[in-house]
């Protein structure tokens, strides 16, 4: 188990460094960052002095080294647009995004797991069809469109919920549903498939042969085994959701890290974009790492090895 964790940790660190290099290289894809920073009206001399000032005249690898060392100290330089340290911008905005992400994955799990279990208990029943319909529709639903529909219905027509902003828990209801529904289909399908698989296994028959009541068979014997892969999927989805929060935050004007990403991309604020890509990637890497560890711990075969 310890060996597994160490190996997995090594992989996570390696992936993290690679991702950091890729997000840093974005800066150079943009062509001459000094020219971009100086603006269209700047003279050749202005550009040259900015190049020196920001150190863009050094070899790329040196610049990457510098950037990485600062990044490790959570210093991503200054935002071109906001003229503030990128790290403090991100810290300010991350709370909203994390809240949204946690609410979203909770909503997804609370709907997907019961639906998946119910669908697996009675395949081809009404509830199975409803679950299948919800998951097929969810996979095809453009989340920006779904969000706008919710706004039209619940904010404009019915007036029950505020259409945008983040000042109260009510503001988070619609964004949570939109983001959660995005993650729901995959979790639902995996739960259903896992339960179907486990329910036809020999040890479930053993449990029934002991005279265990149906509820005990389903939840203690079956779900305990079927839920193991769902845990890692939920972590992966959580990582995707944070990355996907950009769409939801822009629809509902939630000023989180996703919204910041949208703003800074639209304004060519590269240091902020780089840092955000790195931060979102780190969340994904950490979540999947924790999920793998949790997984190994939940599965006695891995725990003891």
């Amino acid at each position: 188990m310890l060996l597994f964790i160490l190996k997995r940790l090594g992989l996570a660190v390696l992936v993290a460094f690679t991702v950091s290099f890729i997000s840093f290289s974005l800066l150079f894809m943009a062509g001459d960052p000094a020219a971009a920073l100086a603006g269209e009206t700047a003279s050749g001399e202005d550009i040259e002095s900015i190049r020196k000032l920001y150190g863009f005249d050094r070899p790329m690898l040196v610049q990457y080294g510098d950037w990485l060392i600062s990044a490790l100290q959570f210093n991503f330089g200054e935002s071109y647009y906001f003229r503030l340290p990128v790290s403090s911008l991100i810290v300010d905005r991350l709370g909203v995004t994390m809240t949204l992400g946690v609410c979203g994955i909770t909503f997804a799990l609370l709907t997907a797991v019961p639906l998946g279990v119910a669908a697996a208990i009675r395949p081809n029943s009404i509830i199975d069809r409803v679950a299948l319909f919800l998951s097929v529709a969810g996979q095809a639903m453009p989340s920006f469109w779904f969000g706008l529909i919710l706004i039209v219905i619940f904010a404009i027509q019915l007036g029950w919920l505020p259409p945008s902003g983040a000042s109260s828990p009510a503001h988070f209801i619609m964004p949570t549903i939109v983001l959660g529904y995005y993650a729901m289909p995959a979790i639902m399908r995996l739960t259903r498939a896992g339960m179907l698989d486990v329910l036809s296994s020999d040890y479930i028959r053993t449990a029934r042969a002991k005279g265990a009541p149906e509820g005990r068979v389903l939840f203690r014997h079956a779900l305990r085994n079927a839920i193991i892969p769902v845990v890692s999927l939920a972590a992966v989805q959580m990582g995707f959701m944070l990355g996907g929060s950009i769409v939801v935050e822009s629809i509902f004007a939630l000023h989180g890290a996703g919204f910041l990403a949208w703003e800074s991309i639209a304004r060519n604020d590269l240091p902020t974009v780089q840092a955000l890509i790195l931060v979102f990637s780190m969340f994904y890497i950490v979540f999947t790492f924790l999920a793998d560890v949790l997984n190994a711990w939940l599965d006695p075969r891995m725990r003891s090895s």
């Binding site: 040890y203 014997h221 006695p300």
Partner: protein
């Protein structure tokens, strides 16, 4: 006369399949007394396992079960409510399955799984249940029993797991134990040990036992009664001595020819085989199912086959004595 513990009449199992109905088990009858061992013998696919699952009420929802009688010590298994069946299962009737590798839940310790049935059915403390588990683990020949309670199934070998399964089935001291080919998945040397153990424990606790197997060598040693199944039907049943001494159905004799007998089978001679394959049981099944492989088949075999009874020894054949003398003449 003593009442049988388990009495089954005309048990029939139908499985709806794509092209019609699969008549998997047709009209099974038998009685089992307390402490008695019944061996059900037959090829794979003959309906042995389905029969045992039907007794436990563990059939899948798609399988249709009907019978004239299915009585377990006064309880009608056929009409019993799910709750009543649950109360029986694991407590008064227990089952040992053929796949020890997959029949234990990988997520729980041996101790949890052993004590589960006891805690479900009897009001005992967790401590008492664990003590009982240790006692039974020792009884089935597992060393360091107490430390095994904390282990997970994947840490045990197949033989150990099957011993655990046996101990698990015995936890509530059931009156009936059904063992469905409990040793097929194991090494040959371990097979003998496990069967011996099962048999001894059955005697010791005066349990009735239904042992499903295709190993006639085993049957000869442990059975009080034998039931031979072919293609979903009981073709011959009776006291073990009768069935072995005067095997009457041509299929039973075919099976017996397939096992070598020390002293009788000549060195180097080929063992018998029964040519042909088991017929499909989809659609209407009529007449003797064995007729396509039977050396004595004739036109009448397509009609209804009479039950021939010699005391408690029963077989179904168009021929009054199942042509057993004809065969003796040939072999003699």
């Amino acid at each position: 006369m003593e009442k049988p513990l388990l009495s089954v009449r005309n048990l029939t199992l139908d499985i709806p399949v794509g092209g019609g109905t699969l008549h998997a088990v047709r009209g099974i009858d038998f009685d089992l007394m307390r402490g008695e061992t019944l061996c059900i013998v037959g090829e794979s696919g003959s309906g042995k396992s389905l029969t045992s699952l039907a007794l436990m009420g563990l059939l899948g929802k798609t399988i249709r079960r009907s019978a004239d009688r299915m009585d377990f010590d006064g309880t009608d298994i056929l009409t019993a409510k799910p709750r009543a069946m649950r109360a029986l299962r694991g407590d008064r009737m227990a089952m040992i399955f053929q796949e020890p590798m997959t029949s234990l839940n990988p997520a729980y310790t041996i101790g949890d799984q052993l004590t589960e049935a006891l805690l479900l059915h009897k009001s005992v403390s967790r401590e008492a249940a664990r003590d009982r588990a240790v006692e039974l683990l020792e009884k089935v020949g597992i060393t360091a029993a107490r430390s095994r309670l904390g282990q997970y199934p994947h840490q045990l070998s197949g033989g150990l797991r099957q011993r655990v399964m046996i101990a698990m089935a015995l936890m509530c001291e059931p009156e009936l134990i059904i063992a469905d080919e409990p040793t097929t998945a194991l090494d040959v040397t371990i097979q003998a040990q496990i069967l011996r153990l099962l048999y001894d424990l059955g005697r010791e606790m005066n349990m009735a036992m239904i042992l499903i197997t295709h190993d006639l060598g085993v049957v000869a040693r442990v059975a009080d009664k034998v039931a031979v199944m072919y293609a979903g039907e009981l073709v011959e049943t009776g006291p073990a001595t009768d069935v072995f001494n005067t095997p009457s159905h041509p299929y039973t004799r075919g099976l017996l020819r397939c096992i070598p007998q020390p002293g009788k089978t000549e060195r180097g001679s080929t063992l018998g085989t029964i040519p042909g394959i088991v017929p499909s049981l989809i659609g209407d099944v009529q007449g003797c199912a064995f007729r396509t492989r039977c050396p004595f088949a004739q036109a009448e075999c397509k009609a209804d086959i009479p039950r021939r009874e010699e005391g408690t020894h029963m077989f179904r054949c168009i021929h009054p004595d199942g042509k057993r003398h004809a065969e003796e003449e040939v072999t003699a």
